[in-house]
């Protein structure tokens, strides 16, 4: 009797928990489902057909958005920006982090804490002086201007993460490489970088998300349609097609799906990265 009561309570508890978790799951996924559902309709049927799964699936919106809406250009730009910024961040921050962790030079701590301080100080409205600067040196509407700005955005965090990683890493392999006649740069490239793969994975994922989703600097620095990344393009597109919701939803799907797929493929690293972030902080 006692055991039965206990078991019953446990089962009902777990059912309530699952109902709660399922409700939140549905509320997370439903807006995305709705986006895809509406993307598959025409501007006429979206107002009349209220069924959950439309009777006629209409894939033409994706083609229209991709070609006429300019999403092929926006998508290509987003890929360029994301790849070059992330590669830049990994190379530049790992070089610096390696020096901060392993090498010796005057002013080492000063420079390191300069990067750390940038993480501690909130800097809202940093886009104002950045735009002033870019106007002054004429780097607005330039791919590399935007890329360099975005590399700097991810730099401090990546340096801190990699330095902590290098500090914990055993120097044995580096010593072995040194005996084999490897220079500092060689050790960084052949030993330290490959060993730091777990930390680099975290840096790659978080910065990819950050660059892919970045809007404000893209908005202020890139006015040429052929240079705009997806988020900027979406707002331009929305302004131009404010009444054609299915087409807009197709555009949103094009912008959202790659990042969701990358997330699903890499979610282990993301969750690990976030979790370790808590214990460090």
């Amino acid at each position: 009797m006692e055991i039965n009561k206990y078991l019953l309570q446990r089962i009902s508890n777990s059912i309530i928990t699952h109902i709660f978790l399922m409700a939140v799951t549905v509320s997370c996924l439903f807006p995305l489902f709705w986006m895809v559902r509406c993307a598959l309709m025409t501007n006429a049927t979206v107002f009349t057909d209220k069924s959950f799964v439309p009777h006629v699936l209409h894939f033409k919106n994706f083609i229209t958005a991709w070609t006429e809406g300019g999403f092929s250009v926006y998508f290509f730009n987003s890929v360029i920006y994301t790849v070059s910024v992330v590669v830049g961040i990994v190379l530049i921050s790992s070089l610096a982090a390696y020096a901060f962790s392993r090498l010796d030079f005057p002013g080492k701590n000063f420079f390191f804490y300069m990067f750390v301080a940038a993480l501690m100080i909130p800097f809202p409205g940093s886009f104002v002086p950045l735009v002033v600067l870019m106007n002054k040196i004429g780097w607005t509407n330039m791919r590399y201007g935007y890329i360099l700005c975005m590399i700097n955005v991810g730099l401090s965090m990546s340096i801190l993460l990699l330095k902590t990683f290098f500090d914990k890493m055993s120097p044995d392999l580096e010593d072995a490489a040194r005996i084999d006649g490897c220079g500092r740069l060689g050790i960084w490239w052949h030993v330290a970088l490959p060993l730091a793969r777990p930390a680099i994975a975290v840096i790659v994922i978080f910065n990819s998300l950050n660059v892919w989703n970045e809007y404000i600097l893209a908005n202020l620095l890139l006015n040429d349609k052929s240079l705009m990344p997806l988020q900027r393009g979406l707002m331009v597109f929305q302004g131009a097609h404010s009444v054609d919701y299915p087409l807009l939803m197709a555009g949103l799907t094009i912008a959202a799906v790659p990042i969701i797929l990358i997330y699903l493929a890499m979610q282990k690293h993301i969750i690990k990265g976030l979790s370790s972030g808590t214990t460090v902080g």
Binding site: D104, P124, G125, F127, L133, N135, N152, L209, N213, I259
Partner: protein, 307 residues
């Protein structure tokens, strides 16, 4: 002997200076895109400048004086504060409840963990535009177009149908809720990680001593979670106070001043009215307020560690 020593010192110096090559790319970028803008924002906040003319007029603290009596600015601060309060309570309570639910041995735990982090990986533009469409208030041949209003009518709540995003009374609340929808996954993951570091033996010991689940929660879970909770709270405050892209994508700038937050004010001063100095004064003030808030949380967490 001294010659060699001098030589080796010189050699070390040359050797050391080669090490600078490792940090030169990072330091150069950082100086151009962080240190210089950081200086420039203070400098510009003391000037009057339209962003184009070669001449900047030094005005001292006039921009700040004007800012302190700028009603719309302080109103925008209150709007951001409102969103922050909603996020601190609603979003963090939800995140904590979900984390507690997933901390136990439960089926589908990994599935939930993956799903709850989908909204945070989406961009604010995408999230804002999807929700704008769901909250859309337009009508076509007697039927509501937006999903929410349509469902409200169909489920028998026609009196709740509303112009969600164009009514100043509800627009901000809608933005706050969507902000929570986008953000709770962060808190959830961090809190879950925190819960999983609590030693299970503590609970075992408490059970042996006859503590019920409420007492276990009250005397083990909460005290052990205080540091993580404070981190999540700081991040929530800093993130929510600076929200603005969501607002741009949900309501644009067409709602009078009802959905203005500090960053949209800064943006408006800069590209709307070309007052770069004033925009920088706003940024400096806002930054100082944010530093004050994080310092407050820092002191709070230190106090709690001592206690």
């Amino acid at each position: 002997m001294p010659a060699i020593r001098k030589n080796s010192f010189a050699a070390r110096l040359v050797d050391n200076s080669k090490n600078y090559l490792f940090i030169i790319p990072a330091v150069t970028l950082f100086s151009i895109f962080y240190v210089y803008p950081f200086y420039e924002i203070f400098n510009l906040s003391l000037h009057q400048w339209n962003g184009i003319s070669p001449h900047r007029t030094f005005v001292g603290f006039a921009n700040f004086q004007e800012l302190f009596s700028d009603k719309i600015w302080w109103q925008s601060m209150w709007h951001a504060g409102f969103i922050t309060i909603i996020a601190l309570t609603l979003q963090n309570a939800l995140a904590f409840m979900l984390a507690l639910a997933c901390d136990r041995q439960i089926r589908l735990k990994k599935f939930y963990r993956v799903v709850f982090f989908i909204p945070p990986v989406l961009s604010e533009i995408v999230v804002g535009l999807i929700w704008q469409w769901i909250l859309y208030a337009g009508m076509q041949s007697g039927e509501h177009i937006g999903l929410l209003n349509y469902l409200l009518v169909k489920t028998g709540w026609p009196q709740l149908v509303h112009n969600w995003l164009s009514d100043p009374k509800t627009a901000l609340a809608c933005i706050a809720v969507v902000h929570c929808w986008k953000g709770f996954g962060w808190g959830f993951i961090m809190l879950l990680a925190g819960l999983q570091t609590i030693d299970g033996q503590l609970y075992e010991a408490a059970k042996v001593d006859g503590a019920g689940s409420w007492n276990q929660f009250r005397h083990i879970t909460i005290p052990m979670m205080v540091p993580v909770l404070l981190v999540v709270m700081i991040l929530t405050v800093l993130g929510s106070m600076q929200v603005f892209i969501l607002i741009l994508s949900m309501v644009g700038q067409g709602l009078g001043y009802h959905t203005e937050v500090p960053v949209t004010r800064i943006l408006d001063a800069m590209i709307g009215t070309n007052r770069f100095g004033y925009a920088c004064a706003m940024s400096v003030t806002f930054g100082a307020i944010l530093i004050g808030i994080s310092a407050f949380f820092k002191i709070l967490s230190n106090r709690m560690k001592q206690a």
